[in-house]
Every structure is written in C-alpha cells, then in structure tokens.
Symmetry: C2
Subunit: 224 residues, 2 copies
C-alpha cells in the first residue's frame, strides 16, 4: 500500500482554490463534514482539462483515508490524463430537497456538496489495486464484496486504477425551510420543502439467474 495514512489535521486550510465565495456561511472545511458527503455519494463528477477545454465526467469512486480512487478501462480519457498527474476536481453532490419559497427569487435547493482538489496518480501496486476494488465494490453496495467473484489478475491488469490524494477541499450545505422576504409571508402561496432522496425500488433479478438464489441483504436492505 502506498496510500498515505490519514493526516491528523481535521480541517483543510482555506485558500483561493477551495474558499466558498457565494454564501460563505454555508461553507465548511472539516473532514468530518466533507468525507461523509463523499462516502454517501454513489458517484462523483470529475473535472479535468484537456487542451484548455474543461471536461466533466461522472464516475464511481471510493475514498480510503485522504485519497479518492477511480477505476475503469485504459481507453478512458479521464483515467489517461489523471494517470499522468493531471490536476482534477472531484465534486460530490447530494440533493436533499426542493426549497419552495413564496417568491421565485428565494426558491432554492437543500443539498450537501463536497469539492475536492488534487492531482492524479496511477496505481500500479497490486495490493493497492486490490484495496481499491474492495473499496469501490463496498462503496456501491455495502456487503457486496463478500458475495461477488473477485477480479482475476488478468482483469485487474486490464483495468486502470487512479488515485487522487486530497490536497484541498470544502463542503457546502443548505438545510431547512425557505427564507422569504418579510412582506411575502402574508401571501397566500404554499411554501415549504419537498424532500428528495435517491431511493431503491424492488430488485430485478437477472433473467439468466439460476433459480433458487435468494436476494442477498446487501441488495434487499440497500440504503446509502
């Protein structure tokens, strides 16, 4: 494992890169706030630059300590550039609800987002690759690692693994009811929050599933 151990400082330094500019009261720089957002987000959106062009790609991730990992096919543009040490921005966003104010102007969204900065590093060590496969499988569905057929060495070799040590990060969070202008509270307009969550419905068995295999707890009791 070449992953550095988690650092002891619990808060990221505020600088020009991670400072929350708009509504700074919603900003937060603590690992204890940022990392649960990263871990609850099923996917992230990774930004990188190619020939002056920003590109944003959704991908599955997993966090181990202060490191974010991705994996995928070697043909991926993101993985190629990140493996070469490109600067990336990893953003995780959880939508918690619509904030329906009496005015269009104060209507908003309840959300928790985390924005992380770092540079890519190709993961070549097989032990670290193994830890990433486990972390990503468990990130997507807790308990699934103990159920699946593990990757073969050949499969691992045909996969590109990339690590991003988190150098800087911030979170931004909005919760609670709408905030309307004082004079608008008298208007006969419904206001409140419509909660939203990424919710599972009934699992659909593979049509080719051998009969008699029960849905495991990792699926039947799925929650993030």
């Amino acid at each position: 494992m070449t992953t550095p151990p988690p650092t002891s400082a619990s808060t990221f330094a505020i600088n020009e890169r991670n400072r929350v500019r708009r509504l700074p009261a919603r900003g937060n720089y603590d690992r204890d706030t940022i990392y649960p957002i990263v871990d609850e987000s099923l996917i992230c959106h990774v930004g990188f630059v190619q020939d002056d062009q920003p590109i944003v790609i959704p991908t599955i991730h997993a966090r181990i300590g202060d490191t974010i990992y991705f994996h995928g096919a070697p043909a991926s543009r993101l993985l190629k550039l990140a493996a070469d040490g490109a600067k990336v921005c990893v953003t995780c966003t959880l939508l918690d609800g619509l904030v329906l104010a009496r005015s269009a102007f104060h209507s908003s969204m309840n959300y928790r987002s985390a924005v992380l900065f770092g540079v890519g590093r190709l993961v070549t060590d097989y032990d670290e690759q193994w830890a990433v496969m486990k972390a990503i499988t468990e990130h997507v569905a807790k308990g699934r690692w103990d159920e699946v057929r593990y990757a073969t060495e050949k499969e691992a070799q045909s996969t590109k693994f990339v690590a991003v040590e988190i150098e800087s990060a911030s979170a931004k969070i909005r919760t609670g009811p709408p905030k309307d202008d004082e004079e608008d509270y008298a208007l006969p307009i419904w206001a409140g929050v419509l909660p939203l969550a990424l919710t599972p419905s009934a699992p659909i068995a593979d049509p080719l599933l051998t009969s008699g295999i029960a849905v495991p707890a990792s699926v039947s009791q799925y929650r993030r």
Copy 2:
C-alpha cells in the same frame, strides 16, 4: 430575446471533444436523446478552468432550445468566469440503478449522462432574463411559475444570468441486466439490477406558513 432558434440538425457532429471513447456503443449524439437527459436532471455539474485549475460546481440549470442557462449571485466564481466567455463543460447525470454482476469486474451502473460543451455569455436583456427565471422555476417544479411571487426588477438586477449555447454534446447510456462472463453464470451468486430514482417524500410545510393554504399540485404530484 437573443437566444438563437433551435438548429435544424438533430445530431451533433462527432469530434475530438465530444467523442465517446470508452464503450462507444453506449454513445449517442442526437438532440432527441441528449436533451431529455438535460431536462430530467434537476441539477448539472459545470466545469470551468481558473488558473489551470479545473473546478466543478453543481448548479440548477434550464434549457431553452440549444441554450443552457444558469443564474445566481454575482459573487459566484462560475458565473463571473462564464459571463466573461469562459469555456465550460456541463454534465447531467441520471442514476437509474446498480448493476450487480456475479463478478466484481462486471458490476456497473445503469445511467444516462449528457456532456455539453460551449462558452459562457452574460445575459443582459431583461426579456431573456425573464424567460430564464421562468424556465428555471419550471425546470425545478413544473407548474410552480404560476404560483410564486415573480422576481422584481431589483431582484433580477441583483442576479447574474449566464447562457451557454451548446456547440457540441454527447450522451452515454447503459440499461439492462449485468453481462457476466460465460463461466460465471453457473456461480451461486445473486445478480440483477437494483433500480434507483430520485424520489420525493411527503412535503414539509414551512413552519411559518399561514394556515389554510393547501399543498399545490406542482408539489403534491411532483415527478421528474
């Protein structure tokens, strides 16, 4: 309105910027495929570059024809740069389910994503600003525009509106059950899809809501 009319070509040209490299069979360049993903996505992730650093920010958007709009406070770094004509990448992602294969290697996600490219333009025309306010309100909750107190001219003036004409775009979609290796189908491992959707729960009225105001249909029958 300075928005250009929708172009007649229904398909974006494939070039180095929008070409789907990984699993090209999942790629699509048709407006009829791309725009419904943009419209169903409650938020998007916008990537831009500041001092060689990629930055990805989640924001509410709305589409009118071949143009994507954002709005927010003038202090927003994204809006400042986009208003100055910065290159942006707008990515919309819908998660449709976990694809739980028998092997870790073939486990995946069902999703629909759209990646759009263009440059920012500050919207100064009040008619266009008004159309954006309506489009964004309706994008978040269809029917809400007829219920809210409209923005005053002062509120519009304290908001920055940015347009991005979509120059290039692609979609990427995965659907259906897992695809396992032939020899893995005999393994005693459950496989299938766990459908996921961003789902509303019961609306929470603002604690300061005047009594006797019913929940409107835009909220009680909310769906995307």
